[in-house]
Symmetry: C2
Subunit: 228 residues, 2 copies
DNA sequence: GTCTATAGTTTGATAGAC
DNA sequence: GTCTATCAAACTATAGAC
């Protein structure tokens, strides 16, 4: 694998580089309610919850604003549904990641974490960055899932340290670093970025193993120097 | 250095964990205009540009909303000034980072990058997350600084690869990972986090060296296993 | 520079016909 | 379920007195 910076986009002006509106399979919603969710996903990702009005949303759906209220009781409920979808999708990815021992567990979890952000960037941006617009009550389910995902990463790091296969200065800061670099993928990944989501996920998983201090002999040789 | 997760805060509900309103030295603004900037920094960081109205801002400053227009022509100009301060502060940190060879350069740059986000989290969050609310014209100066910072990191990685001291699969993805993990610090760092900004910066710099594939013998032994 | 007062627009949400 | 019509409140910004 080599650098492709010649093709890399200039620094993005928008909040999110991705454009395609996409909801995970199994979360598809039919009819007008689905249309509303999809257009809200696009608008909230681009402009934020307060930056997109109920009328902007209605115009995008080609309906009157009053019709929205036949499907959702308030604007906040539309956002809450997207935040829920985003966190459940992320958590489903994370939970499905399995590994026999700490190295494999960490690799699979980071792959899943990054893939959720690269495959569904709009959903991830809305779920991560607009959560604070929800009332405490409506935000809680997402916070529970988020705390669980973070705990899983923390557990894997401590397990690997205990087993002697990880060597890192500070597990807490490793959790923040690994989580954070993955979350940002949702902002910069887009159609002009010359990588596939899976490539990014694999490379970030390798970075996470390096942060964890996994000995090179315990990592596959596939991802080494770009000069090779 | 050891884990302090027993003291770590639960997953944050707010957009930003930090609270203290703080502008970098040398960027201090006197009088009412300064007051407006400080309150705007707090409000825009907490709720976003569209989530805080001109009246909210005036109330926080204990002035009438019309008085704001004696100091700034529009609400957008207030944000533009904060975005400018944030990016100039970040860029000043980055530029001041110096090193004789790639390993030292990378360590210093990442330290500076992380410190700018941990020492001025409100400013960093506003500069990073509200930039898209500005018109193209007003956003451009910040984008120029951002592109330059990213280029500096990219240059260091390529230099280290050419010198044979770095060994990493993909410099472009390493730039996104190292930048991203540092940017997120502004969101989670706050008064309840049991670390000092400098500790975070040091540890993240170590993580960056690991991502870059710097041989352990070229890294100082201070930051190794948490079980030591 | 700061105020009172207000213009003109947009906001989220509702009433009631079909 | 979708519409037309509308309400009451909040929005950014301005006019003009002091």
């Amino acid at each position: 694998m080599s650098d492709r910076s010649a093709d890399m986009p200039v620094v993005e002006r928008r909040r999110i580089a991705a454009e395609e509106v996409r909801l995970p399979p199994g979360f598809a919603v039919e009819g007008t309610a689905g249309r509303i969710l999809r257009e809200a996903l696009r608008l909230f990702a681009e402009r934020g919850f307060y930056g997109a009005s109920i009328r902007d949303l209605a115009d995008a759906c080609e309906i009157r604003s009053a019709t929205l209220y036949a499907h959702f009781p308030t604007k906040e409920h539309v956002l809450a549904e997207l935040v829920r979808l985003g966190h459940e999708n992320h958590h489903a990815h994370i939970k499905a990641a399995e590994g026999a021992e700490p190295v494999a567990k960490l690799r699979e979890l980071v792959r899943a974490h990054v893939l959720a952000h690269a495959d569904y960037p709009l959903l991830a941006v809305v779920a991560n960055n607009e959560l604070h617009c929800l009332s405490d009550e409506m935000a809680t389910p997402a916070l529970v899932l988020r705390a669980d995902g973070r705990q899983r990463l923390s557990d894997i790091l401590h397990e690997g340290i205990a087993a002697g296969v990880f060597d890192l200065p500070d597990p807490y800061l490793a959790v923040t670093a690994i989580s954070g670099m993955g979350m940002r993928v949702a902002n910069w990944y887009g159609p002009d970025v010359p990588y596939q989501p899976l490539e990014i996920a694999e490379t970030y998983a390798e970075f996470a193993l390096r942060i964890a201090g996994v000995h090179p002999d315990l990592r596959p040789g596939a991802l080494r120097s770009s000069t090779a």
